[in-house]
């Protein structure tokens, strides 16, 4: 029973990583930028959700939608202000800018509200289901279902809608897409909007599930989500989902074996191993780069 319980723990943790990793992977897929500010959009989502629930007395779903919408706007602003003019610059310049944006967001939040942690209000009465000795809380069921719904929705957008088709086209070849009459700027903005909305949703879910939020909470989950995206194959949407879940379960197993202090290390060992053994990730095809 202990192991089934651990699996439940791992999947709950993994679905949060997966939600953040989706945004990472989408942005990378379309403009080849590792958006280090993504983890901080996740943090902003958590705080927007917190204020929506605690101060403006919204219910969970309204707060979730509000956080997603505001994060989408923030994502587009970040892209327009910081990244757009660097689209033809070197990739290292864009990467450094992303780190700068990340720090800017973190310390702006600290400037306005300090760095002390905040406790999320209880939105659902904590109720546990006892299934053959395995404790499953209503919260973890809800988190899992919200994550799954969002991931299915994303798959639908990417594969069935016009903007999804444009996104896939731009990701394949931006210049050719432009020649075909696709508005590349708008498509990139839409990618940032969707990715940031998912990060915002992950922030609210994280807050409800783990209770404690603070301005630097995005740093570690952001890095873990990056590992998850690389693990699944960066740029590939199903890869990010799988990578997130795998990472969550692996971390849980490491703790369950009694090596809880090595949990974060395990995530980065995975990153190193995947880069050595299979740089394209689980779902990636090994394509030779054209020289």
């Amino acid at each position: 029973m202990e192991w089934i319980q651990q699996l439940v723990n791992g999947i709950s943790l993994g679905s949060i990583y997966a939600l953040i990793a989706l945004g990472y992977t989408m942005v990378y897929g379309i403009i080849k930028l590792i958006n280090f500010a993504h983890g901080d959009v996740f943090m902003l989502g958590a705080f927007i959700g917190f204020y929506a629930i605690a101060r403006w007395e919204m219910n969970f779903f309204l707060a979730l939608i509000m956080a997603m919408m505001l994060c989408a706007v923030i994502g587009v602003i970040i892209e327009r202000v910081a990244y757009k003019r660097l689209r033809s610059a070197t990739r290292i310049a864009a990467l450094i800018t992303a780190i700068g944006v990340s720090l800017l967001i973190e310390y702006t939040v600290i400037f306005f509200r300090g760095s002390s942690p905040e406790a999320y209000p209880t939105v659902f009465a904590a109720k546990n289901f006892d299934i053959f000795g395995v404790q499953i809380s209503t919260q973890s069921i809800l988190i899992l279902s919200v994550s799954i719904v969002l991931m299915v929705l994303l798959q639908f957008i990417v594969h069935q809608t016009k903007i999804g088709k444009a996104m896939r086209a731009v990701s394949h070849d931006a210049d050719a897409a432009k020649l075909m009459g696709i508005n590349v700027d708008n498509t990139i903005s839409a990618t940032f909007a969707i990715g940031s909305a998912l990060a915002g949703a992950a922030g609210v879910i994280f807050g409800v599930y783990y209770t404690r939020i603070d301005p630097l909470m995005g740093v570690l989950p952001g890095l873990k989500a990056f590992v998850a995206a690389v693990l699944g194959g960066i740029g590939i949407i199903p890869g990010a989902m799988t990578g997130g879940l795998v990472l969550g379960v692996v971390e849980t197993i490491v703790s369950a074996l009694g090596y809880s202090l090595w949990r974060d290390a395990a995530a980065f060992v995975i990153l190193i191993l995947i880069l050595i053994l299979r740089p394209a990730g689980i779902f990636g095809k090994n394509t030779r780069e054209k020289v």
Binding site: E2, Q5, Q6, N9, G10, S12, L13, S116, P117, A119, T122, A126, N128, D130, Q135, S137, Q139, F206, Y210, T211, R212, M217, L220, E251, T252, I253, S255, A256, G258, S260, L261, D264
Partner: protein, 403 residues
């Protein structure tokens, strides 16, 4: 570019010269006044007695330092209202150390050298207090920390005692011992688990002394796990602990993580008593864990405002009268620190740092708010600890445990 460079150079030079002036000024004034103070040592019975307070009034742990300061101010007012010490009034000189080690050292120098205090309250945290120990020894001004609980404030690594450093709180390992005694004697538990913060010496010290005492009393440690500060997910380790079937879990750590641990433990169906120490003492703990999850948990603290003891209730009333809130442990420790110094000044032959140091070191059975004080050879007070139980999010006085 060149212009900037020369400007920069000039300004640093100027700053250097000014700083040089400052130090020479200071040292000359100090030497002159120190001679004058030894000159009129016995004659000035009407002069005020200056006591310094080197406290965190801003910065990261400002709430600790200012609480100690508030407690100390109340004590000073009471002593002065009752006529002071032998007719001489006390004056508290507060200096802000901004919660930083280097500022704490500077503040201690300023208090010793310019203000000529005869004793001072050391900073609220162990780290900042350690930064002032050297100054205390050098200027022969005793320091008393209200809440610096790490052993190395009064005792060095090599086991030698810092002559001029004292404290009014108990030390970290003592809390672990008290927790083990309480668990074994009051809760009657046999199989215990320890879940400690691996990133802090505080938690590791508590865990080690808890383990030693509980095994000495015939208890079994069935699980020993660790976490790192800033973790948020403790479910996997807690599941592991649950599988070991403990009937009590000791969790030394700070409220930021402990709140989440308590919440997640209860969600996983762990309903055994949980216990921690003074690191749990914060209203944020209740927000994080939730009042329900905290039922059946215990903490050790320096004192409880709900202790029925008459002197404690008098102090609580006096404090409420002045500050309009119930005093917490830091308020009580700040208050006690001043009375601890006052008692020593009364017993000292003369009002000098050296004499007060001797009197502080020989304190015996002094009854104060946070317990009855006897200073041991390591300058730590031997006194009782209070066990509090959380009932619906409120700390309720449970019992007093003697060492």
């Amino acid at each position: 570019m060149k212009k900037f460079a020369s400007l920069f150079l000039a300004s640093t030079l100027l700053a250097g010269v000014l700083a040089g002036c400052g130090t020479t000024d200071d040292s000359s004034s100090s030497s002159s006044s120190s001679s004058s103070s030894t000159g009129d040592g016995g004659s000035s019975s009407s002069e005020v007695i200056k006591i310094g307070a080197n406290l965190e009034l801003s910065g990261g742990v400002a709430s600790y330092g200012s609480s100690i300061g508030d407690g100390a101010v109340l004590a000073i007012e009471e002593i002065n209202a009752a006529g002071g010490i032998d007719g001489r009034l006390l004056e508290l000189i507060k200096v802000d150390n901004k919660s930083e080690n280097s500022e704490a050292t500077t503040a201690a120098i300023r208090l010793a050298e310019q203000e000529k205090v005869v004793a001072m309250l050391a900073p609220a945290t162990s780290g900042n207090s350690v930064a002032t120990v050297q100054i205390a020894n050098q200027y022969k001004v005793p320091i008393v920390t209200g809440s610096g609980t790490a052993p190395n404030v009064t005792v060095n690594e090599d086991g030698s005692v810092n002559e001029y450093a004292f404290r009014t709180c108990f030390i970290d390992p003592f809390q672990g011992t008290v927790a083990a005694n309480f668990a074994a004697d009051e809760l009657d538990v046999k199989n215990v688990a320890i879940f400690a913060d691996n990133a802090s010496d505080y938690a590791k010290g508590l865990a080690a002394s808890f383990k030693e005492t509980i095994t000495g009393k015939g208890g079994n440690v069935v699980a020993e796990e660790a976490y790192v500060a800033k973790d948020t997910d403790f479910r996997s380790t807690l599941t592991r602990i649950k599988a070991a079937n403990p009937d009590f879990i000791f969790i030394p750590g700070y409220y930021e993580e402990v709140g989440l641990i308590v919440k997640q433990a209860r969600e996983l169906g762990i309903d055994v008593p949980l216990m921690g120490a003074d690191g749990w003492d914060s209203p944020t703990l209740v927000d994080l864990a939730g009042a329900d999850a905290l039922n059946n948990t215990y903490i050790i603290n320096h004192y409880s405002s709900e202790d029925p003891d008459a002197t404690i209730q008098e102090f609580v009333e006096a404090f409420k009268g002045k500050y309009n809130q119930a005093p917490n442990a830091f308020h009580a420790l700040g208050y006690d620190s001043i009375y601890f110094i006052k008692d020593a000044i009364e017993r000292a032959d003369e009002v000098t740092g050296e004499a007060i140091q001797k009197a502080l070191a020989s304190t015996k059975d002094l009854s104060l708010i946070t317990g009855t004080f006897t200073v041991d050879e390591n300058h730590n007070p031997v006194k009782s600890a209070t066990v509090l139980e959380f009932v619906d999010g409120k700390q309720v006085f449970n019992s007093k445990v003697n060492p």
